[in-house]
């Protein structure tokens, strides 16, 4: 019986390249996951539930201390639910200037200056079964004047955080106007 199993195993390895499914009497399983030579705990460590890769919880509001305390609250909820909070960041506010005019004229009546502040909380590897619970907790606890959106992370969200180097951009524009960078010949190594 044992020699027939061994023969089948060898045939199996020879026929298919890469990790093979083969008979094994280990743990009464019919096949070994990942191949004969990979340890089983690698598969066991993976999550049994599908995961969301990276999600950003974006909070926007006009009232700055309220927004900050809500961000802290969201962070607390997420960490209490054993969700990996990767990063929290703030982006510069959007400043609005609102002018009201006197009726039937262009005379300025009032001028308001408002700033829309933003805070973000980034979550990594969240189980899809836990996501609805987090959403219901967030929607139940949103304070007045704060809007919350949850979206997947894009490279653009990362780009927005950096302050553009205007001097460098100017120099680059000048270079393109002058005809592009100088192409150097590659020197051969002797």
């Amino acid at each position: 019986m044992q020699s027939s199993v061994l023969r089948r195993t060898l045939l199996g390895i020879l026929k298919k390249p890469g990790p093979t499914l083969c008979c094994s009497r280990r743990n009464n399983t019919n096949y070994t996951i990942g191949g004969l030579w990979e340890p089983e705990y690698l598969e066991a460590m993976k999550s049994k539930v599908p995961l969301y890769d990276t999600l950003n919880i974006q909070m926007k509001g006009y009232d700055y201390p309220l927004l900050e305390s809500y961000q802290k609250f969201v962070h607390t909820i997420a960490s209490n639910m054993d969700i990996d909070v990767e990063e929290c960041w703030a982006t510069p506010p959007q400043n609005f200037k609102i002018n009201t005019f006197k009726p039937n004229s262009t005379v300025l009546d009032k001028e308001f200056k408002l700033s829309l502040y933003e805070r973000n909380v980034q979550i990594v590897d969240m189980p899809t079964t836990l996501y609805p619970i987090l959403l219901s907790a967030l929607s139940a606890s949103v304070p007045e004047g704060v809007t919350v959106t949850v979206h997947e992370h894009d490279p653009e969200h990362e780009e927005v955080r950096y302050i553009p180097d205007l001097e460098l951009k100017d120099l680059k524009d000048q270079l393109t106007l002058m005809g592009g960078p100088r192409v150097e010949k590659k020197k051969r190594k002797k």
Binding site: T129, S136, A140
Partner: protein
């Protein structure tokens, strides 16, 4: 019927995993007083949706919370630094005093003719006085009208419908029995549409249910249909907008939910409610 031969039985079981699949049915002859073979009972699968309307305004502060808030704001004011507006006000006051005494320079005179900080503040106060805030307190008739979505602005509300279960009509969360080939989530969506119509918009959170309730049918129904009872799986939804086009529905607070529904049903629902 021959009785079980125990020696034969144990020999087959002890021979190991290899032979476990090869049990010959003729080897067993069950005696009438031995344990009955397991018959799986049939249950109806039901999907139920708990539509929640989140609070529109914050809850009122209690007495002690109010006092604490006033106290903390006083401390904050004492410890804070002066704002631009306050500094400007002080500077204006100095120039005005200097003008009165006659020590003013030309620059000060120019500044004095412009709108002072005090004028700005007065104008702002007038503006504020003219503005009317929306009222935090509802008309008592709105709070009492159970079908109004705007009742109890600071509380969580749950949609309850009156459905016919068997012979009597019961107040419960909108539900329907699963048809062949449907997932539980599809059943939940259908249950909502059947209960409240197309105009009602809500977001059902997730494909997995959040709660469970089991009940048995009365004996005559059990014998007639051959079904033991129903297993109810609850799904959570958040109300977005729209009107519920249903004859008997209610937006219930938690206390009302406890009163209108059966006690063990409420116990299962209470498990997943966040308020």
């Amino acid at each position: 019927m021959a009785l079980l031969k125990t020696s034969h039985f144990t020999r087959i079981l002890l021979s190991g995993g290899r032979h476990a699949g090869f049990v010959r049915p003729s080897a067993f002859n069950f005696a009438s007083n031995a344990s009955e073979p397991h018959i799986s009972k049939k249950w109806d699968l039901v999907s139920s949706v708990c539509v929640e309307r989140n609070p529109i305004i914050t809850a009122d502060l209690t007495d002690i919370e109010n006092k604490m808030q006033i106290f903390l704001s006083k401390i904050e004011l004492e410890q804070s630094k002066k704002s631009d507006h306050e500094l400007r006000k002080e500077r204006d006051k100095i120039t005005v005093d200097a003008l009165k005494k006659g020590n003013a320079s030309e620059a000060d005179l120019e500044q004095a003719t412009k709108a002072t900080a005090q004028d700005f503040e007065d104008a702002s106060q007038d503006e504020f006085a003219k503005f009317t805030f929306a009222s935090r307190k509802n008309d008592p008739t709105i709070d009492e009208d159970a079908r109004n979505i705007k009742r109890h602005l600071s509380k969580h509300l749950v949609l309850l419908t009156q459905q016919k279960v068997g012979s009597d009509s019961v107040w419960l969360l909108p539900q329907s029995v699963r048809k062949e080939g449907e997932t539980m989530r599809q059943t939940a969506d259908r249950a909502l549409v059947e209960a409240v119509g197309e105009n009602f918009r809500s977001i059902v959170l997730g494909n997995a249910p959040v709660g469970f309730y089991k009940y048995k049918y009365p004996k005559d129904v059990r014998d007639k249909r051959g079904v033991e009872g129903a297993k109810v799986f609850f799904f959570k939804a958040i109300y977005q907008e729209g009107e519920a086009s249903c004859k008997d529905f209610v937006w219930a607070t938690k206390e009302e939910l406890g009163k209108k529904t059966k006690q063990d049903y409420f116990k299962s629902v209470d498990q997943f409610l966040l308020f």
